[in-house]
Symmetry: C2
Subunit: 352 residues, 2 copies
């Protein structure tokens, strides 16, 4: 009676244990090392052997034991990604990270940041898997806590979205100022002069966007008018801003919102009050998130390409893995303006 693990002819009958390289080797009558070489595309195995090994692996349902590999190599070929599932634009970035990482020979390990799970917790868990580098997307952490996180980490850290230049980590962010400038210039070209900016102080990248608004308005000799809203920059924030505007009785001809969600909330609340967009009021957003493209919403918005951001994050991470102590770098993604149906010339003739 064969003991467990002993190679006998029909080893398929006891599939309670995951197959190992040893099982493949036994089935083919070759050595474990050769199987390892063949599966890794390392030199030292003939093409024919390689094919036979692959076939046997597939038949047995072999899956490499990633933990064992990591243990042996002291660092896994994985990039750790901390993200917040609930945030609107992050899924797109996450999706683009997968193919980019694969092209560089890396896998992806996700760790969610939720209301009950801090960025630090999510980060440390990835550390436990010995990821080769960490990518942290849009965490709401302060610059100080981010730096602390990065300093405690033995592997390179890339921060996406929260844009503070820093000696401890690389940064990937969009040029928020340039994006808002594009929106303002588009509105000015349409004939608008009374353009309000919707600012939400609680969101770190918003600061840069407001700066862009100020600069663009000043350049055209127009007065800056800013509504500062509280909250988390979601649809609710936009709706609150709409109520404030309506109460003030003095509607502008255009509103530049700091992100798409706020813009949507604004539009919905205005529609409720009978204010047509873009008939009575033009609105722009920021992000080009999924909702913006809906024909029912059709939001003119500054697009920060999530694919480009994901790829930049991976590039930064891999660069730092390869040569550890490079000076930290900032990857700035230039937004483009996507013109849709929420902007139009102001109703009356443009006021002088």
């Amino acid at each position: 009676m064969p003991r467990r693990g002993e190679a006998d002819e029909n080893s398929e009958v006891t599939p309670k244990r995951d197959p190992t390289m040893g099982d493949i080797a036994a089935r083919l009558g070759v050595s474990r090392q050769l199987v390892s070489l063949a599966l890794r595309d390392a030199p030292g195995a003939s093409d024919e052997t390689r094919a036979r090994v692959r076939q046997a692996a597939a038949e047995l349902g072999y899956r490499p034991h990633i933990g064992a590999r990591t243990l042996r190599q002291s660092s896994s070929r994985y990039l750790g990604v901390v993200f917040a599932p609930a945030h609107a634009t992050e899924p797109d970035i996450v999706e683009s990270i997968y193919p980019a990482a694969e092209r560089c020979g890396y896998g992806v390990l996700l760790s969610a940041q939720t209301p009950s799970r801090s960025t630090e917790q999510a980060f440390d868990e990835l550390h436990g898997h010995r990821c080769a580098a960490m990518i942290v997307i849009g965490s709401g952490l302060s610059a100080g806590r981010l730096a602390e996180l990065a300093r405690r980490s033995l592997v390179p850290v890339v921060i996406v979205g929260a844009g503070v230049r820093n000696p401890d980590f690389d940064v990937v962010r969009s040029a928020g100022d340039a994006g808002v400038r594009l929106a303002v210039e588009h509105l000015v070209a349409l004939g608008h002069r009374d353009i309000i900016y919707l600012h939400c102080a609680s969101m770190a990248p918003a600061e840069l966007r407001r700066k862009g608004y100020r600069a663009a308005m000043a350049e055209h000799g127009l007065p800056a008018r800013i509504i500062r809203i509280t909250g988390d920059y979601t649809e609710e924030s936009g709706a609150a801003a709409a109520r404030e505007l309506l109460a003030a009785q003095q509607l502008p001809t255009a509103v530049v919102a700091g992100n798409d969600q706020a813009a949507l909330g604004l539009i919905l609340e205005l529609a409720r009050a009978g204010v047509a967009v873009p008939g009575r009021l033009s609105v722009t957003g920021f992000d080009d998130s999924r909702i913006a493209a809906l024909t029912s919403v059709s939001l003119t918005t500054a697009r920060q390409d999530p694919i480009e951001m994901g790829e930049a994050a991976v590039e930064a991470a891999v660069r730092r893995i390869r040569s550890g102590s490079l000076p930290p770098r900032e990857f700035v993604i230039t937004p483009t303006l996507v013109v849709r149906g929420s902007t139009a010339p102001p109703r009356g003739p443009a006021q002088g």
Copy 2:
């Protein structure tokens, strides 16, 4: 000159390598085994030692090597979760899985399913980490491919959302028929009689919801009227349905949509055409996703509690881990109706 790894007094000066249990032991002058016991809360270490070990671990920035632990134990204390970041309701389920898993002593490993990454790929990757069980959320896979996936897996599989009773895996789903029934009964109680259902054939759970609509209408002696839309049940699908309704010139007094996104698209498109909701037309959704709760949207909807679903998924997984060959079970979550502002009595007197 000390060799690498040898315990000398100030080992903090060479922190290029992650600290191990051996490092903690060396620093404290105790054995590695004791450190292991202390960190795992296993019996055999005094409270005082335990505290000292913990402190030293924290000071060194020790993180257990999850791969090594998994290797030693032949199966990790992790639940693998396959999910699609882009889908609206899934993030909430994912978020609730974390605390539920932790209560059972399990960690969570996420794997994203994206346009360029199939459910099978995402699943296999988790397999590589030797997860103790797999939870697959709302994959669009056919019943056959799901069964195939589960059969090939050596560990228990729980499918969330795609509700086919099956010998190969556990299922967690909401009672879609009961949810739609609640919506219909709410509308009937308000005085509606002309109630249309918005059906999207491409979404698996929609079938059950339509069944609930049919049954509820029949019970009240009302004629069933169904608009079948193509597409993926997003806002765009709802908008298309609105255009169809408007073209037909014969508006019902109420629409029951198969999910919130379709309901929102419908409402937005109707608003564009000047049809007030709920003034002229009542609308209900399904899911109670984030958009439904916005004051600007304020959608009456059947809520399938994502927390409950996440917890049920974890419960199912852990149950099957503990006793492998239980008969597969179906966990059905009963929806509740959340009444908001998108429903009201029909404008005229209810027709006899």
